[in-house]
Symmetry: C2
Subunit: 382 residues, 2 copies
């Protein structure tokens, strides 16, 4: 396959580049370094220093003998994106090129406007570039489990048949999010669904839960290949943040009651899910939606796991409930259906003590670089 990866510098983007490359596919990556620049601006840089993408692909070639092509540019620039599609004619495009942080989208009007503009315009441009150059090209788009929010009914896999007053129809599963970032993902899905129906595009929309981990088989080959690992309030997902807090001797920052429950997955499983989706693409005129998670935990359960493993490793882990800066339900029903990716062949890596211990070990190596100010900046939803 010829695979175009948008957002190739990101936490998921870079390991995805290596994952496909390692398996013999031709990989072209694009990034505009938004996250690097934003995390410098907001003083929340990644834990582990990362060479830039052009340097990374040289290291990758030295390590694996395989080439990845990189173009630095902005997917919101349609002329640029179209030129890439025309030059490479990808079989599949993996669209990660979005502003990925809920707190970032709630900081102020300018950050909200950037999130809205970036996330929707990149998606529209991908749709048009595929239509104009090769409608056969399979679009794989990262959505989020946050699109569904926390409804009081079981969360089905993308769709729901509704019976109302004796009549039936099938709809996108009802969605209601907790931040502007998450809302842009609903908006993306609605756009994709429009153009799937109108133009017959083939799309896989992955409703992904929060990801944890910093290791893939490829990144383990050389420490300079480790993905960007954020542990801060803005770009760090909750388990990654807790482990760095534990190593730093900072109380784990549980927001409010901590009963907020979400579906999680290991970074290695994100690689599998995206790869399986690419190998077994959506049909024409199909918006295929998968719920991308392997198990569910509450925030308190994660904190407890980190505490147990951390204390066993000799850290003195405390858990601290702080006033919730977000507006979200702290007690809610949560039951998710996620069989689609299993049926494609996903072999889950569950969150074992061993997985956490390995994360602790890597983080400990970089503990002098931990910026404690980044753990909690108190970005208020209200």
């Amino acid at each position: 396959m010829k695979v175009l990866i948008l957002g190739a510098d990101g936490y998921l983007g870079w390991p995805t580049c290596m994952y496909f490359s390692q398996r013999g596919h031709e990989v072209i990556g694009i990034d505009n370094y938004f996250r690097r620049n934003a995390s410098t601006e907001l003083d929340c840089e990644a834990l582990i220093p990362a060479p830039n993408l052009l340097q990374r692909v040289i290291i990758w070639e030295e390590t694996s003998g395989k080439k990845i092509k990189i173009h630095i540019g902005d997917v919101t620039d349609y002329a640029f994106l179209l030129s890439i599609f025309r030059e490479y004619k990808p079989d599949v495009v993996i669209h990660y090129a979005e502003q990925p942080s809920a707190p970032y989208s709630m900081i102020n009007r300018d950050k909200a406007a950037f999130t809205l503009q970036n996330n929707l315009m990149t998606t529209l441009n991908v749709i048009y570039a595929v239509k104009e150059t090769n409608p056969e090209c399979h679009i794989i788009k990262l959505g989020t489990m946050g699109e569904y929010g926390t409804p009081n009914i079981d969360i089905e896999e993308g769709w729901l048949e509704i019976e109302h007053k004796g009549r039936k129809d099938k709809f996108l599963f009802p969605r209601q999010t907790g931040s502007l970032y998450h809302t842009t993902k609903i908006q993306d899905t609605d756009m994709l669904w429009l153009y799937v129906r109108t133009w017959g595009l083939r799309v896989t929309d992955l409703m992904q839960g929060p990801v944890y981990g910093l290791s893939t088989d490829e990144s383990d080959l050389d420490s300079r290949l480790i993905p960007h690992f954020h542990y801060d309030e803005i770009f760090g997902t909750v388990l990654n943040r807790f482990i760095v807090q534990a190593v730093a001797g900072h109380p784990l920052t549980v927001y409010g009651k901590g009963n907020q429950t979400r579906g999680f997955l290991n970074l290695k499983d994100t690689m599998q899910c995206v790869y399986l989706s690419a190998e077994q693409p959506a049909e024409h005129k199909q918006l295929r939606i998968f719920n991308q998670l392997t198990e569910s935990f509450s925030v308190n359960q994660l904190a407890e796991k980190v505490k147990i493993v951390g204390n066993r490793l000799g850290y003195n882990v405390e858990v601290n409930s702080i006033e919730n800066p977000r507006v979200e339900k702290e007690d809610h029903y949560y039951n998710v259906n996620f069989t689609g990716l299993m049926e494609l062949g996903l072999q889950p890596h569950f969150l074992t003590d061993n997985v956490m211990e390995e994360m602790f070990k890597v983080v400990d190596r970089y503990k002098d670089r931990i910026n404690r100010d980044a753990f909690f900046k108190g970005i208020q939803w209200k």
Copy 2:
């Protein structure tokens, strides 16, 4: 009330300015002349020549003795919008400042990008300006019945209680549109709902069907006050288009089978609906949704009505089914609940023969200005 009207030059915007002004309210109008400029660019100008807004308010003051304030500017420019909110401190903002045409949004990537960017950024800016200056300010937003599409179940008024596997929750009514324009309206609703829940804003979202007519009590006072009346494929709604086609001796352009059914309302009733919504505002933390229509017709039924009335008036009206340039269901279930605005006091003006005869008479006065090339340009959805 102090009323800020965004999109004050539009088909709905200008008569709304006069409607509130006539009833003693202080009106401030904003427009960037998008529609005037776009209709010149695309050779589909309005039937009736209209003075610009600054000239209109002078005519209005001469006619009614009342003042309306106008600022020419772009609602996507946040600094401009914020300065207006700070200067006037409106009690209610009526947000019409959107690209309003489905075909326009499907012409090409640039028009799609403009629609997406304009419609979402204006809405985000209104939300932020209200939050930053006065969260009590009531937002009235024009949505569209097109947000719902044509589901196989009854369309309820904005919300639906869903029972699934023995559990229940209430959701936004499922939505699925037929164009990018309509999709931006779904996206608007999702954003408004997020910030209503997060910040406690008060919002009325009006799911309006296609509007017809070119007369309100205020515009009847002076022909220079008639709203922009479009009859073209891009900006003209179906009944308005059919009547102008009938006067021009052009066959009525029915798309496909013509069984497409929608809810319609008279321009005079739009005025009432918006006014009633402003007088009886939404509560804090409430996204209040009304379905804004008074009766439903299929395209064939409208064509038949126009044919009967037109032939009686001496026109020779033919109906021509042409290949549908849109992607839409031509046979579908359609049953809409719309009691909310009736309960607020709406007195519908139904589509009688007399109403159509009056429209024919006004159109006939301007028949030399009809541009037959504008009736059908064949903007393809595919």
